[in-house]
């Protein structure tokens, strides 16, 4: 036996098959797109239109003071929608703070999905019922959760996969590394989706990572990396579906990089003109996910006025519902402050709850 035969020297996986494609995978506008089911394309389309309208309405709600803040995903709707549609009913989604749209597309009530950003509570939905983890504000810290949940599901013999979403900035965080490493070592049924939208607030890609692509990072962990056009809803859906299937089949995790662009600023509070070139924004506007899909639908004769109108009406109804329900002040119960800290409040919390109760009574009397 030589040292080259010892485990420390032997490669643990074949690197070759893990390497990502040279260019982002595309479907729309290619001959392969002809094989896509019409039903899938029309569903993606309806969700994209809804998503675009949702982003616009939510941004408007910040101007009316009805949302504390909104990080828009305009331009990235294809990633959001494909994420939701690639999952089965028992799968889990682990969103970042920009992924409200994926949460809504997954079926969570829009007002409940906006609770965090409205500021009436941190998470408005029941994560277990929705199979959607709370929107994570700290970067990448939800990725190890996705790994742990997927691992637990597999230990329980359940056919459940987890999809975790993160931005390009989040890939610089330690938790990103630890999550990918755990997932690969455990062969956990989890898919990581990096939405590379070009900026971490104002810091551009070139200052974020020296890797050829984020998909390349997968190779070092021993999982395949896939590179996909994040504005091509059909391509993202296909790549994510393959990755989820792969996870379910016990073949371990996949890292998917979706190359997209943040058309709006980081949030409504940000001024993106300070750090990026407007020509670049225009280039990406021309590569709009809705336009791309409309082109395909038109080419296949699937985009008639009826479909267009149905999608638009559905989106308007969503926006109108949001306007109406977000216009009401949310019901707030100050007692909630103490209700969910521990299963049983500590003596100190009971005292503080009583103090607040007395303050509220005094307020009402005056």
């Amino acid at each position: 036996m030589t040292v080259l035969d010892t485990p420390a020297w032997r490669p643990r996986t074949e690197a070759g098959p893990l390497l990502p494609d040279q260019e982002p995978f595309r479907l729309l506008g290619t001959p392969e797109a002809a094989r896509l089911a019409p039903d899938l394309l029309t569903r993606l389309y309806a969700q994209l239109v809804r998503g675009r309208r949702f982003n616009r309405q939510a941004t408007a709600l910040t101007k009316q003071g009805r949302l504390a803040v909104y990080p828009s995903s305009t331009g990235q709707e294809a990633c959001e929608v494909a994420a939701a549609l690639a999952l089965g009913p028992r799968d889990w989604l682990f969103p970042s703070y920009r992924d409200t749209l994926a949460v809504v597309a997954r079926g969570v009530d829009p007002v409940e999905a906006l609770t965090l950003l409205r500021g009436d509570w941190h998470t408005g939905y029941d994560p277990r019922a929705a199979r959607v983890a709370p929107l994570s504000t700290p970067l990448s810290t939800q990725l190890p959760h996705a790994v742990g949940l997927a691992h637990a599901a597999r230990l329980s013999g359940d056919d459940v996969a987890a999809l975790a979403m993160v931005g390009d900035g989040g890939t610089s965080e330690g938790d990103f590394h630890e999550a990918l490493n755990f997932a690969a070592v455990w062969k956990a049924p989890v898919v990581f989706l990096v939405q590379n939208n070009g900026f971490a607030i104002s810091v551009p890609l070139a200052k974020q990572s020296a890797a050829p692509t984020f998909a390349h990072k997968a190779v070092g962990y021993g999982m395949p990396g896939r590179l996909v056009d994040g504005n091509d809803a059909a391509a993202v859906h296909q790549v994510l579906t393959e990755a989820v299937d792969r996870a379910r089949a016990g073949q371990g995790p996949t890292l998917v990089e979706a190359v997209t662009y943040r058309i709006d600023a980081h949030t409504n509070a940000d001024d993106a003109t300070r750090y990026r070139d407007q020509d670049e924004v225009a280039t990406w506007r021309a590569h709009d996910p809705i336009t791309l899909l409309e082109g395909e639908l038109t080419g296949r004769g699937l985009l008639d006025d009826a479909l267009r109108q149905r999608a638009a009406e559905d989106a308007e109804a969503l926006a109108a519902d949001l306007r109406t329900r977000m216009h009401d002040d949310p019901p707030l119960d100050p007692a909630d402050l103490f209700a969910h800290v521990y299963a049983e409040p500590t003596p100190q919390l009971r005292e503080q709850a009583a103090m607040l109760g007395a303050e509220l009574e005094a307020e009402q009397r005056s």
Binding site: W121, T123, T141, P144, V147, L149, D175, E178, N181, A343
Partner: protein, 323 residues
């Protein structure tokens, strides 16, 4: 104590299939302190898992496992090695119940061997309790006796809330007449215990400082001082009632812990005693704590750790007047 902790893990794994032990070296090696000895062999790698060496990953994965209904028991190998997982602990573990309005409680136990006195080199002897007890949503528990090591760990694992379980590593080898077949009933988490009754003054302590305080109380008899000793056992929840009752009886109190005094647990306890017992106090509440320095190298640690003499000096400063 190490054996009692091992038995607690063993019994918890046997009693509840959702309990999972995980951490660096907890499997084949049985942990660097052998607390998980034999668990992987007897319960399988899936129930007692050697993880990659990454504390944030370990605790973060445990969060996801708990979200799916498991009860992870995480081992952080040494106090200072737990710091990479601090963000997971304070940003997610401590608040998941709260942020989801009770929908996602996280029954995670984080076992951290802590404190000095074993001649460890740098980063192996920190007392980090103040960081944890300042974070709402966490229980912070530390056993000082063999019975408590077993009972509190079983209670921590059974708790539906996250528990930071601080194991005083210099007490790992402490012995007691303790039977794994018939472990004694211990009071639940959140209850302090009077380890020694005394009418002159009260020493309030926890974890590794309990044996030191008991020794000091014994030595104080030579001075004619009758000292009582209260073992907090749990810093969160804090048993204010027991502490206040005992201090009202003696009118004098010294809080003893080995972690740095400034902004430490003793400051909180002293403040609460003052607020609740002011008119019963014969003297200010004093603290005997480690110095406000980074944990010293092992050849100097005996100067840092509060010993019997330093405790007795403080008791002397209570302006002792018998009766």
């Amino acid at each position: 104590m190490a054996q009692a902790l091992n038995q607690a893990l063993r019994d918890a794994l046997a009693a509840d299939p959702s309990v999972h032990v995980m951490g660096e070296d907890v499997g084949t090696l049985g942990g660097v302190f052998r607390i998980t000895d034999g668990l992987a062999r007897d319960f399988g790698d899936d129930r007692c898992t050697d993880t990659p060496l990454a504390e944030a990953g370990i605790l973060g994965a445990a969060v996801g496992m708990a979200m799916y209904g498991l009860r992870p028991v995480v081992e952080m190998q040494f106090d200072a090695f737990a710091y990479p997982s601090f963000e997971q602990l304070v940003s997610h573990v401590a608040r998941m119940r709260n942020r989801t309005r009770g929908a996602l409680p996280l029954p995670i136990t984080v076992r951290i061997p802590y404190g000095g006195g074993i001649g460890g080199v740098e980063h192996h002897s920190d007392s980090s309790e103040a960081y944890y007890l300042h974070t709402p949503g966490l229980h912070v528990v530390t056993p000082a006796t063999v019975e408590d090591a077993y009972g509190l760990l079983r209670a921590a694992i059974a708790s539906d809330d996250p528990v930071v379980f601080l194991e005083p590593k210099r007490l790992y080898w402490s012995k007691a007449d303790w039977s794994p077949q018939a472990p004694a009933e211990v009071p639940p988490i959140g209850r302090a215990v009077v380890r020694r009754a005394g009418r002159g003054a009260t020493l309030i302590t926890y974890g590794p400082s309990l044996p030191v305080c008991l020794e000091a109380a014994e030595a104080a008899k030579e001075e004619g001082w009758d000292l009582g000793v209260v073992d907090l056992r749990s810093l969160v929840p804090f048993d204010e009632e027991t502490v206040a009752e005992v201090v009202r009886g003696t009118g004098r109190a010294v809080v003893v812990h080995e972690s740095s005094g400034f902004g430490g647990a003793g400051a909180e306890i002293a403040a609460r005693i003052t607020e609740r017992c002011f008119h019963h106090l014969q003297a200010p509440v004093l603290r005997v704590a480690g110095f406000d320095i980074p944990y010293p190298p092992p050849m100097l640690e005996r100067h840092h750790l509060p010993g019997v003499d330093r405790i007795l000096d403080a008791v002397g400063r209570l302006q002792w007047e018998e009766g």
